[in-house]
Amino acid sequence: MSMEMIFYMGIVLFLVSLLGLLISGHALPYFISLQVMAAAALINLLNFSLHSAPGNGEIKVFLVLGFMAFYLLQFSLAFYIYANQKKTGMPAAVRLLSLEKSHWWGEDKI
């Protein structure tokens, strides 16, 4: 498979993740969208590391440390949400693009 084709696959994955982030109303699909986005980044990094000699070392270190930090953050969030799921549900607050009237005009109903 050519480099361009792998790159386009990464872009398609990114678009899927973007759609997921924009429409997900629950934490679970949001996390899945984040995973898909991370997969797109991973594909790009592996793709470019196969073909570009300069900066290969940095790409490998970035793959390990960057993704480790990213998954640590997600684990922390998932743990917090799981620990508090009995108190409140997660649907409304997760939504990336909220069109509730109170977020644009007037006072928030608490």
Binding site: A41, N44, G55, L65, Y80, K87, A93, L96, D108
Partner: protein, 499 residues
């Protein structure tokens, strides 16, 4: 001893001092004694102050120093000092609220971790270090926010959502840098300017993704709902954490990434201009419109903050008018950070006081009338905020008078939108002041008889600082140029020519 003095002269001196403070706090992690809590708070505050001193001393003695991972110059020294000052204030508010609590020391440790990771973010020049320190900063700030907030209805939901938003921003950062790998340069951020000349499309896409990351990170319109929901539901301290740790971390991220956005400045691109101008007006006019019927004081101040962040987009839109790379956006970002610190720290103290009467301005009628000194400080700080924005946006910011003559219609559109947004914000501020000055309603309980001395000292300090800065600017003794800050006739080129 030689080793220690060598370490203390290096770029990590401030971080090491803070780490020593954390190490000491570890030993008292499960303390239930108020006395121990006071000692730990004092040691941590001293470590923050010492870190500010050491960073400044190292810059004065060694000047700009660059290593494989880090870059420490005047800009990094100033930003580090600003972040440590923010951390010091958050520590102060934490001590005010929770000094007697059993988990006080643990929260101090989490706060110090957040500040340390933000300091890494400031000095990082390597892309790997930048990404890791950014994600760890988000993680630490979220942990601090989640552990310090009150356990009340809706908070957990919104706090969880609050953490998920910057996680998406981190995803965009990973994606942006993964594309940068395709250009063959994954090393230092400061090596990017050489790359821009190639006009690599992968680099342009990486810049676009990083821009999306910054936009999402700041909760800018139309993604503002969660921040507004969180601000109204959580206590004042959680809001202070957002205002004084999370937003400054975002501004640091933006300053570090300005290298990527520089490629767009100076190119006359009508599509880019229209897109960014629309986003800028949405973020300048949106908070103004939302404020018209807002009464919750925390929501009001959060909308002020969103307006302030909207001005960051204004400078980006101005860059598309083909003005040339003479204006360094980093200076503007730094001014915005300075304004946020000088305005939102005292406002957060006011929100604490107003929270005692329910946190709604219509229930705090008569506040300015019954407390003339505090009210005067409140008015000074709000006027300073408005005046500093007028100064930055019209007199010597991205839209100075000469720009209108040079660029014609595009600059006129920016002028008109910016003027409308500032006029709307001024009208909202007058509305808030009128409500707070009005006679209290008879059916409402009287407010607390006296305010603590620390409140008066705190607001006096910031009101005096604001008044002094205003006097210096209006007398021509201080100001900002296109790529420098002038103080008493001396120009300081903070970002050099690289940003």
């Amino acid at each position: 001893m030689v080793l220690l003095s060598g370490i203390m002269a290096g770029p990590f001196a401030g971080i090491i001092i803070l780490a020593a403070g954390i190490l000491i706090a570890f030993f008292a992690g499960f303390s239930q004694s108020r006395r121990i809590n006071i000692i730990i708070a004092s040691v941590t505050a001293a470590s923050y102050a010492a870190a500010i001193y050491i960073n400044i001393r190292n810059y004065l003695s060694a000047g700009t120093a660059a290593t494989y991972l880090t870059n420490t110059g005047l800009a990094e020294t100033i930003i580090s000092a600003a972040l440590l000052f923010c951390g010091l204030n958050v520590l102060f508010f934490l001590a005010l609220d929770k000094l007697s609590r059993r988990d006080f020391v643990r929260q101090v440790i989490i706060l110090s971790f957040a500040v340390v990771s933000m300091l890494w973010l400031v000095i990082s020049d390597n892309i790997v270090l930048f990404t890791v320190s950014l994600i760890v900063s988000i993680l630490s700030i979220f942990n601090f926010l989640a552990s310090s907030g009150k356990d009340q209805s809706g908070v957990s939901e919104y706090a969880g959502g609050f953490g998920l938003r910057p996680a998406a921003a981190a995803g965009f950062v990973l994606l942006g840098f993964s594309l940068l790998a395709g250009t063959g340069t994954m090393g230092s951020i400061s090596s990017i300017p050489a790359l821009e000349k190639t006009g690599d499309p992968l680099f342009m896409m990486a810049a676009l993704f990083l821009g999306c990351a910054v936009y999402l990170f700041f909760f800018l319109y139309p993604f503002q709902g969660l921040l507004l929901g969180l601000s109204a539901r959580t206590d004042v301290f959680s809001n202070q954490v957002v205002w004084m740790l999370y937003i400054p971390a975002g501004i640091v991220m933006l300053i570090r990434l300005e290298t990527f956005f520089d490629i767009f400045y100076g190119r006359q691109n009508i599509y880019g201009f229209v897109f960014l101008a629309l986003l800028a007006f949405l973020n300048l006019l949106g908070p103004g419109l939302a404020l018209v019927r807002s009464f919750n004081i925390k929501r009001i101040f959060t909308l002020f903050l969103l307006f302030q962040l909207g001005t960051l987009l204004l400078v980006k839109a101005a860059g598309f008018t083909g003005r040339g790379p003479s204006y360094t956006a980093g200076i503007f970002d730094l001014w915005v950070l300075f304004i946020i610190i000088t305005v939102f720290l005292p406002l957060s103290m006011f929100s604490r006081v107003l929270e005692t009467s329910g946190g709604m301005i219509d229930r705090s009628r008569g506040f300015l009338r019954s407390r003339p000194y505090a009210g005067s400080c409140f008015v000074i700080i709000l006027i300073w905020w408005l005046a500093s924005n007028i100064y930055l946006c019209f007199l010597n910011g991205p839209l100075p008078g000469a720009l209108l003559m040079e660029q014609g219609a595009e600059a006129a559109v920016l002028y008109a939108g910016c003027a409308a947004a500032l006029a709307l914000m001024a009208a909202n501020i007058i509305r808030i002041l009128v409500i707070l000055f009005a006679r209290p309603l008879e059916n409402l309980p009287p407010s607390a008889a006296s305010l603590p001395l620390v409140f008066y000292i705190y607001i006096s300090f910031f009101a005096l600082a604001a008044a002094a800065a205003a006097v210096l600017v209006f007398t021509g003794n201080a100001g900002t140029g296109q790529d420098s800050i002038q103080i008493w006739g001396s120009s300081f080129y903070i970002f050099g020519s690289g940003n």
